[in-house]
Amino acid sequence: MNFFETQHLTKAFGGLIAVNDVSFQVVKGEIHGLIGPNGSGKTTVFNLINGYYPITSGKILFEGHELNGLPTWKICKLGIGRTFQVVKPLRRMTVLENVMCSAFNLTTRRDVAKEKSLEVLEFCELSKKQDFQAKGLTIGDRKRLEIARALATGPRLLLLDETMAGLTPQEQAEGVKLIRKIRDAGITIIIVEHIMQVIMNICDRILCINYGQEIAGGTPAEVANNQAVIEAYLGKE
């Protein structure tokens, strides 16, 4: 049994096929990259895993459970956390409260949730800002908050959607450190990212899709030297 896999995952919006027959496996404990040019369907894949869109055909399996048709919140409870490309902070709550909302997944007691949230914030290096309103955070801190919130639900699989976009190089470096730290804590990660330095650096394996179809998969080096990938990114000569 694979830790996580998709089988012939397909999604059509009316006539437009956004994701076409994508199958891939994720091994427990790895960081799996998902890349592709703009509009190639990466975020749609996340939205399918996450249950935000219903699947047109195909299957998603997580630890042997079929996720098809489950509502988003149940998928979260099964142990899949996610962040959003366009961050969705709960704007008029403090950072701590944001994370506590997630932490209540594991407990109904406020003090326990708070304790757990403080741990997560410490882990994500956001402790100093715990009493800030989420709407007042910088973009870097908002991305951290997204991650912290996803972590606080106690996931075994974490979906990171363009966590680095819009960050300064220094922030990116810190982000990479954080992602590694999460992996080291035993959480499997699927990451969608545009910033190639990042993805090539941290991923164990990468899947590249274009026009909703998989065009290459393998280690970072294999993918980077794949002709189809280079064409997808730089265009044909």
Partner: protein, 234 residues
């Protein structure tokens, strides 16, 4: 013709552009390339005055663009073909095109312009009465470009015209872009399809993380290893 000087801009408290300066001369074809999230679209929105820079200036000919409301930009002679087409899906192709020529100057010549545009895009001519939302991706892109042309612009700015198009269609779009340049329109284009665009443009700027990191002739940049690195991270 168009100059950006030390522009800092962003959305709310998120800064996206850091001290961006570049210029487009009359009749030039300039391309901005950069990975996603590098701030290309933000530059486009700054030029169109949809967002105003926190500091710095944007000049078009003798006009400060950053002090003009967005709906007046097109009157000055700049047509913006936005990312993801942004057509009006429940209106016909013809109506979409007509909406491109709202300014009094363009309106006066609407019929001639329409004829010219239809010659340029024969496929749109066939689908005049069709709802824009029902067009295929390539046709939608053409419609968006045609709509921009309807204002008889001095300058056109394209935001990722190849987005979501197959390689074949992308090539067709680029051929059209070149033809428009041939008609004497100044062009500024944002693209992620690096090789093809660098091959056809006059000059290019490379953006990384909201900053301009490289500038040069298209062909020269094509050979530059740094460009490849910026895109593939190797």
């Amino acid at each position: 013709m168009l100059r950006l000087e030390h522009v800092n801009a962003g959305y709310g408290d998120i800064q996206v552009l850091w001290d961006v300066s570049f210029r487009v001369k009359g009749n030039e074809f300039v391309v901005l390339v950069g990975a996603n999230g590098a701030g290309k679209s933000t530059i486009m929105r700054v030029i169109s005055s949809l967002i105003s820079p926190t500091s710095g200036e944007v000049w078009f000919e003798d006009q400060r663009l950053d002090q003009v409301p967005p709906y007046k930009i097109i009157d000055l002679g700049i047509a913006h073909v936005p990312e993801a087409r942004q057509l009006f899906p429940e209106m016909t192709v013809l109506e979409n095109l007509e909406l491109g020529s709202l300014s009094p100057k363009a309106k006066a010549h609407r019929k001639e312009t329409l004829k010219w545009v239809m010659e340029l895009f024969p496929r749109l001519n066939e689908r005049q009465k069709q709802l824009a939302g029902t067009l295929s991706g390539g046709e939608q892109q053409m419609c968006a470009i045609a709509r921009g042309l309807m204002s008889r612009p001095k300058m056109m700015i394209f935001d990722e015209p190849s987005l979501g198009l197959s390689p074949l269609l992308t090539q067709e779009i680029f051929r059209l872009v070149q033809r428009i340049h041939g008609e004497g329109v100044t062009l500024l284009m944002v693209e992620q399809n690096v090789k093809q665009t660098l091959a056809i443009c006059d000059r290019a700027y490379v953006l990384e993380n909201g900053r301009v990191v490289l500038e040069g002739k298209g062909k020269e940049l094509l050979e530059n290893e740094q460009v490849k690195q910026a895109f593939l991270g190797i």
